[in-house]
Symmetry: C2
Subunit: 383 residues, 2 copies
């Protein structure tokens, strides 16, 4: 009774949702390189190179910079559970799904969480954080989302980092949808802990989470009185595997590390400033096109990597997404939370941030909705 599995052949999509983004063939080819052992000297050299590349992309000299063996949410959990001990007071800023998730993770770690909230789509006002810090002087950590993937809002961090440090707390930043596409400089901003994902502006498949900790954050971790509740995400042990000691901890996701190496190499070969400028230009073009089609952005400060827009009145939200997928092989995202059924999220991340993507999605929307003028408006931006 022999079995033969059907041929494996997933369709080829154009990924313009909230992530994953299109993955270049060069990265996929690296992913498919022969697997090495996790303690092979050749693999350890690749880890060193990946760490060096991550530091350049994070713009940091942080010694403790590594890839957590899980997706972006594992990076969130890794930063929170290592920096929080039961009973610690923390401030978490919540203006969308991912701030809410960070609050949940912090509560599960035993933290006493003070939430600073803003309506979905808006950014967090520095004054609100100042007020919370004044009201809760024992706060040890402030967590905030740089790029809120659920609303497309981009959070300015300059004022906030000063407030947090003046209060003697550490600053934790979610950069899942910004790293590699939106200006971010860990050392200039004095961010103490930051996590990202591979499948957004880095255009690598999902499965790893680049994280980085400042010296102050490492001190906090190394002077904990309690064990980190997660063995898998315990930075004091992960540090020994990524550091000079090379102490075996877990079997690293070897092939995913290959892909991240190649994706980071492509970021550095393009140059961070050039990449940020590319994301900004394509965002401006898409925005001009969408607005010419009468569509309105949800956030006041939009990310260049993710465009969250209100679905026009009378339009079948899910139906349009389905037609984009079935007729064009284009994936865009739906709304979440209060925007469920009422928003689209169009990503322009990494390899998906090109003129070709912008013009194609606008043309497809025009064709499906019976509108015109979007591609013309976008073309003008390109000049």
């Amino acid at each position: 009774m022999s079995f033969t599995a059907p041929r494996f052949a997933p369709p080829e999509r154009i990924l313009m949702g909230p992530g994953p983004s299109d993955v270049p063939r060069r990265v996929l080819n690296a992913l498919a390189s022969p697997t090495l052992g996790h303690l092979d000297p050749a693999y350890l050299a690749i880890m060193d190179e990946v760490r060096d590349f991550m530091r350049q992309v994070f713009r940091t000299k942080n010694e403790l910079t590594m890839a957590v063996p899980g997706t972006g949410s594992a990076g969130m959990e890794a930063t929170v559970v290592n920096l929080v001990e039961p009973g610690d007071e923390v401030i978490i800023c919540v203006n969308g799904v991912f701030g809410g998730r960070m609050k949940d993770v912090a509560e599960r770690s035993g933290a006493k969480v003070h939430a600073v909230e803003a309506p979905w789509g808006q950014t967090i006002a520095p004054a609100a954080i100042a007020e919370a810090l004044a009201a809760h002087p024992a706060v040890k950590l402030v967590g905030i989302v740089h790029a809120e993937t659920s609303t497309g809002a981009m959070q300015p961090l300059e004022e906030i980092t000063k407030l947090v440090h003046d209060a003697g707390a550490l600053l934790l930043v979610d950069a899942v949808t910004s790293l590699g596409g939106v200006p971010l400089d860990l050392d200039a901003l004095q961010i103490d802990a930051c996590y990202s994902g591979t499948q957004k502006c880095l255009s690598c498949p999902p499965g790893l989470s680049p994280v980085s900790f400042s010296a102050a954050a490492v001190d906090r971790i190394m002077s904990r009185k309690t064990k980190v509740q997660s063995w898998y995400l315990d930075m004091s042990m992960l540090k020994s595997y990524w550091g000079q000691e090379r102490v075996y901890h877990h079997t690293a996701p070897i092939n995913m590390t290959y892909a991240l190496r190649e994706a980071l190499a492509m970021v550095l070969e393009e140059g961070l400033e050039a990449r940020w400028a590319r994301h900004q230009l394509n965002y401006q073009a898409l925005r001009a096109g969408l607005e010419a089609l009468g569509m309105k952005y949800i956030p006041e400060h939009s990310l260049p990597s993710l465009n969250a827009i209100h679905v026009p009145e009378g339009v079948d939200e899910a139906g349009v997404r389905k037609r984009l997928l079935n007729e064009y092989d284009i994936e865009i995202g739906a709304g979440l939370g209060p925007f469920k059924g009422r928003a689209w999220r169009i990503g322009l991340m990494g390899a998906s941030s090109t003129r070709r993507h912008v013009i194609l999605v606008l043309a497809a929307l025009e064709s499906i909705l019976g509108l015109s003028g979007g591609t013309t408006a976008a073309t003008k931006v390109y000049g």
Copy 2:
């Protein structure tokens, strides 16, 4: 100032350590298929297929069978943190690194752990578990390692599962180094929770952990009084993503899921019994060869997938491994814990369990050590 990264070209090894094992090109090619979105209907269909394949390989009808988005240790943590609430009494059997790790994970979850220990290399006697269960009638969970990767010991489970269930507790089994290579039947053994890794007898790159929970285990999870301490590994939410609801939880490691699909397809195409028999035959041949070379096995009951042997007196343990790697591109493993510097661990897992691997590693050892007779003894086993 432009940067060009050095060409990425990891060496091609023959993986005969304690994992990862050799990954077939067919699996690597699947890994490199174009990335899909994690909510794409085509991807959801792949998840369904992977779950179906996992159930067949685990030999279970368990509804809650899925791939945890992390390596084998994430699977360990996922099973423990979901089944344990703070203050719960549990028994963890410790006779090597991985039993010790399970104990650590359970303690970090707030469990009151009663350890049942045996010397490294030995298996756990059912009588010792019976005694512990009698001494601690409140015990809710017993954790044990089926295939102890640090010592090569294979743990019989038949008697133990009966003892545990008679005491009203759940049985948790680590099958990281056994699933797909060593006989294991979740439903026949009434195992309540089991986790494995992809990079051992399944011959897929590391990065996912197949897990399965019995109905009784799911009841335990769904009737918890406290939230699971890990958000990332909270089965009540992961269940909603893998189940009919398809509720977004995390961005799944898409491409790794492709690879697992293909690796599981290859297991099922070969047939589980045929695969177990292949592992057994190659183990017997390697064992005959190693013993003909005068080498002694560490465990009384050896796994067919992993051969842990004492390094002969006067032989440079690390030097031989280094020569195997540099001159033959063969990776074998070192000893851990009390066997550090004194043992070799030779894996015959998945695609690395072939006559070619057995004869090659014996011939290479003969050549390096100036011995003979190993390949002849192994050849006799093949008949």
